[in-house]
């Protein structure tokens, strides 16, 4: 077979395969165009999961008549005036999107530029372009895409259900909306109930938009993030560790306004939260990295989902450092939803309890515990789960009473001190009430401190809290001084690729400071002669290889620090007050004060809260006073 140049429509369809993978990619491209056009209002409507219809209107600058025909051609763009790929300030730059969409769908563009006397329209079907004809439109641009992939049936077969595609579209719009709170977005059509994100400007705009998208709870559980290094700005909001999720879907990172799914950045996030969150939990956050376009290559991924930084190690450092600072600053806060979640749990249980077991005096657990508070009620997991079922959600009025009793019973522990409680008889001192964690009033079940605050109460898990405090103390201790090193009787020879050997030896001073001494041992190996004493007998080859990998990737290694932190965590667990120890009132207050002073004391090493707070308003609601 002889080689020939492919006809244009085939080339276009091949290119289209990379740019438009699914309906959501079309939406993404078109919304990006609207943003690039300076729109302050973007309306998206879809039907049939975006397969039958996608319509996007904006109030941006519009397209001039002569440009319309060019806009749908490949490699035609208005966004690279200097032909300089290192200065990309817009989301688009390839001039590829409209041409790609036009080659696989029925595309029609209706646009009116301010300087045109009226609007113009053009259509492209499966790559064939129509004439540009006069039309009527008030301003901005409206783009319609029908029958997506009608020209490439093979691709059509790989799409998921309408619902799944519609969800992906919603995600795509949300991602872009997060970065542009100043634009009003509406998302409607037969695929969904309408989502209307009103424009939010000014200081609080970003947070307001995040609350619109990540849920109102984010507002109360987010820490403002702000950092700068070598002209790179990091901003946005990051969730408290206790406000975590089981996957990373609620993590949004933008580079120069461009939403990314970048493994490099994801790794940095994991590291930043590594000692306050279990490995399989993910913080919720929206972060913005802004830097000189020359320092980042956005032209590495067909859907622009990944970028390449000139200095990835620095970016990683910036992210980790800034988030850790914020965690240290705000760390004693734990998720405020703690109180609400507690209330919800109580309410659900109350509802479920009444639903499954009518309150017969003497038999229902609710009744029994109410009559005899000394008998503790084990949390009824099964009924709590039951309570989550929709039928159980709204208790009928007749059952409200049972709910009341059940809820009370859980608080009976507060009401009637159990044998080991030590309630103060005196009123709580004013100055302590004003502290974030309030004045200690009692210890119950030998592990929970109940404290009173100006406007509510706080329950502290004393073991978890103290463990965290000891951990932070040990960690601070490790940071401040050189690590003691155990010399090895028999040096361990670790074979490594030559580049790795070079990198390790080049930074051997740094390594020695954290307790690891490596010496040259021929071209393809190093000899480990001293290891951090606190690690005991370590698997030195593994440690060295991991560090070499880190250096190769990041130019820096936090391995040993992580291991040291881990040791500190283990030791902290042993050195902290166990549950079951009785604390005197002074000791309890001291613990509360120490928690306030300790960075990140709001959660234990696994991201579970060390305390929950109930506002007086929450308590009142519980008793039906509100």
């Amino acid at each position: 077979m002889s080689i020939r140049i492919l006809p244009d429509h085939v080339i276009n369809r091949i290119a289209a395969g990379e740019v438009v993978e699914r309906p959501a990619s079309v939406v993404k491209e078109l919304v990006e165009n609207a943003i690039d056009a300076g729109a302050t209002r973007v309306e998206v409507a879809t039907a049939g999961g975006g397969k039958s219809l996608i319509r996007i209107s904006d109030n941006g600058c519009g397209i001039r008549e002569p440009d319309l025909a060019l806009a749908v051609e490949r490699h035609c763009t208005s966004k690279l005036p200097e032909d300089d790929l290192s200065q990309i300030g817009t989301l688009g730059f390839r001039g590829e999107a409209l041409a790609s969409i036009g080659s696989v769908a029925r595309l029609s563009i209706l646009s009116r530029h301010a300087e045109e006397p009226h609007a113009w329209q053009i259509a492209v079907e499966g790559g064939r372009r129509s004439e540009t004809v006069p039309a009527s439109h008030s301003g901005g641009t409206q783009i319609e895409v029908r029958d997506l992939f009608f020209a490439t049936p093979a691709r059509l077969k790989f799409l998921r259900s309408d619902r799944a595609e519609a969800t992906a579209i919603t995600e795509a719009v949300k991602r872009l909306a997060l970065a542009h709170p100043e634009i009003r977005f509406t998302l409607s059509g037969s695929d969904r109930t309408t989502l209307d994100l009103s424009a939010a400007r000014g200081e609080s705009g970003a947070l307001e938009r995040m609350a619109q998208i990540l849920g109102a709870g984010f507002r109360d559980n987010a820490m403002p993030i702000g950092g700068e290094r070598e002209g790179v700005l990091l901003s946005g909001y990051a969730g408290l560790p206790t406000f975590n999720r089981a996957n990373s879907l609620q993590q949004f990172i933008f580079v120069n306004g461009r939403p990314l799914k970048d493994p490099v950045l994801a790794g940095a996030l994991r590291a930043a939260y590594s000692d306050v969150l279990a490995r399989d939990r993910y913080p919720v956050l929206a972060l913005f990295i802004d830097l000189d376009p020359a320092d980042v290559d956005v032209n590495v991924h067909p859907a622009k989902m990944e970028v390449r930084f000139r200095d990835p190690g620095m970016i990683r450092g910036l992210i980790i450092g800034t988030i850790r600072d914020a965690l240290a600053r705000e760390g004693f806060r734990s998720a405020s939803t703690g109180g609400l979640a507690t209330l919800d749990a109580l309410r659900d249980r109350a509802a479920a309890g009444s639903f499954t077991r009518p309150p017969e005096p003497g038999t229902s657990p609710a009744w029994r515990s109410w009559a005899d508070p000394a008998q503790t009620v084990a949390p009824d997991v099964s009924s709590a789960a039951y309570g989550a079922s929709p039928e159980a959600e709204a208790p009928r009025p007749a059952m409200a009473e049972a709910g009341f009793a059940e809820a009370l019973s859980a608080f009976a522990v507060l009401d009637r001190p159990s044998a080991d409680a030590r309630a103060h008889v005196q009123p709580a001192p004013e100055h302590l009430l004003a502290r974030p964690l309030g004045a200690a009033r009692a210890q119950i079940h030998e592990n929970y401190i109940v404290a009173q605050t100006g406007d509510g109460l706080v329950i502290v898990d004393q073991h978890a809290a103290h463990e965290r405090i000891v951990y932070e103390r040990l960690k601070a201790g490790l940071e401040g001084r050189a690590v003691q090193r155990q010399m090895l009787l028999i040096p361990e020879v670790v074979e490594l690729p030559e580049e790795d050997v070079g990198r390790l030896l080049a930074r051997s001073d740094e390594l020695a400071e954290i307790g690891l001494v490596v010496e040259s041992f021929g071209p393809g190996a190093v000899a480990v002669t001293e290891t951090p004493a606190i690690l005991g007998r370590v698997d030195a080859p593994k440690l060295v290889r991991d560090i070499a990998d880190d250096f190769a990737e990041w130019d820096a290694s936090t391995r040993i620090r992580e291991r040291l932190d881990h040791v500190a965590a283990t030791m902290a667990c042993h050195g902290s007050v166990r549950s079951g120890r009785r604390l005197r009132p002074e000791e309890m207050d001291a613990l509360l004060r120490e928690m306030e002073a300790t960075p990140q004391s709001g959660q234990c090493n696994h991201g579970r809260p060390t305390y929950v707070e109930l506002k007086l308003s929450d308590i009142e609601r519980l008793f039906g006073r509100r």
């Binding site: 003691q484 155990q486 010399m487 090895l488 009787l489 606190i534």
Partner: protein, 372 residues
């Protein structure tokens, strides 16, 4: 199979074999003990695939045969039966073995004895006999230094070898310290290959050596070792690896000699290390003429200093050690005085018993300092 046996006899045998059986097993039959009745004896055998122990006890055999039953369960049952009981074991239909003692009756699930793995010791060309206490001392002196770190698996045991046909030597090291003990080579050990006996096997052998009057037969090849003590036969695989050339790390020219009263030293180290909260904290020894100052510094909690009068005439030196390692080694020494031979703060130090003029210590310890 049908046998009757005295509880005491059965318990003693189970005591020897049941420890080999791992608590968690992925291969079900490894949780079992093999019982074989033959002639006037009941044989019991347990294995973890790396080591097996067989014991033999007298029993009244009514019907010869064999089976396997859960080892820990059988052990627990026999343990809880009253002293002096007669126990009968009988295999029955339906895959269970019935155990009767007095009015108690148990039935235990069996697995076929044909499936029970065998270690196949093969030919064991070298063999010799040692008094039990001698082998026990070799083990005790070195066992504590065995490495638990699995990457250098060849350090996870004691290295036994014969030197110049004259000395039988045991060596263990974990890379931080080394222990070496030796005795006169027993007859028959001359051509013995150097072997590394794994930690778990060492522990089991040691438990068989309690009788101060007894003797132990050792037979080995370069891949297996067999220890026979009375009726108990322990067979084990050896670690397949090369023990490092340890002689090179034993310092020969350390000329700073320190002699001290061991008990005083142990107490002082223990005292000052009270302030170190974590493992691996160093105690710094400052030596000057006739005097040792011990210092531990723990920025988290404080510091401690103590002082001892010692025999030391060389030039002053400061050197740090892991306090736990110091105590471990001191615990191994038997003489009243301990002798340290030092070079400098960055080189291995030698520690050994004080011996009479002209004689060599039979055990020797090398300890690597810490940088403080």
């Amino acid at each position: 199979m049908k046998v009757t046996i005295e509880r005491a006899n059965l318990l003693k045998a189970l005591n020897h074999v049941h420890r080999v059986v791992e608590r968690r097993n992925t291969i079900p039959i490894l949780a079992n003990v093999l019982l074989r009745a033959e002639g006037g004896d009941l044989f019991l055998k347990a294995t973890d695939l790396d080591m097996e122990i067989v014991d033999r006890v007298p029993a009244m055999v009514e019907a010869a045969g064999a089976t396997t039953v859960p080892a820990h369960m059988l052990y627990d049952i026999v343990r809880k039966l009253p002293d002096g009981s007669e126990i009968s074991l009988e295999t029955g239909e339906g895959g269970t073995m019935t155990l009767r003692a007095g009015r108690a009756r148990f039935s235990l699930q069996m697995l076929p004895d044909a499936d029970f793995p065998d270690l196949n010791a093969g030919d064991l060309p070298t063999s010799f006999t040692l008094p039990s206490p001698v082998l026990r001392r070799l083990i005790e002196r070195t066992q504590f230094a065995i490495s638990t770190e699995e990457t250098r698996y060849y350090l996870n045991g004691i290295y036994f070898h014969v030197l110049g046909g004259e000395r039988l030597r045991a060596v263990a090291t974990d890379g931080h310290r080394l222990a070496k003990a030796e005795v006169e080579a027993p007859e028959g050990s001359a051509g013995m290959p150097g072997v590394i006996v794994p930690r778990k096997t060492v522990g089991e052998i040691q438990k068989l050596l309690e009788d101060p009057e007894g003797s132990v037969e050792v037979a080995l090849s370069d891949s297996k070792i067999r220890i026979t003590v009375g009726a108990v036969v322990l067979t084990s695989k050896l670690i397949d690896g090369t023990f490092p050339d340890y002689e090179r790390v034993i310092p020969k020219a350390n000329d700073k000699i320190l002699t001290l009263t061991k008990a005083d030293f142990e107490r002082a180290v223990d005292r000052v290390s009270t302030v170190s909260s974590d493992r691996g904290r160093a105690v710094k020894l400052s030596l000057s003429e006739g005097r040792m100052v011990l210092v531990v510094n723990n920025p988290d909690s404080g510091s401690a200093t103590d002082e001892l009068a010692v025999d030391y005439e060389a030039e002053p030196i400061e050197i740090g050690f892991n306090s736990r390692y110091l105590l471990d080694i001191a615990g191994q020494l038997t003489s009243e005085d301990a002798v340290f031979k030092l070079a400098d703060a960055g080189s291995p130090t030698l520690i050994q018993d004080q011996t009479a003029e002209g004689t060599e210590a039979d055990a020797l310890y090398v300890l690597m300092p810490m940088r403080v």
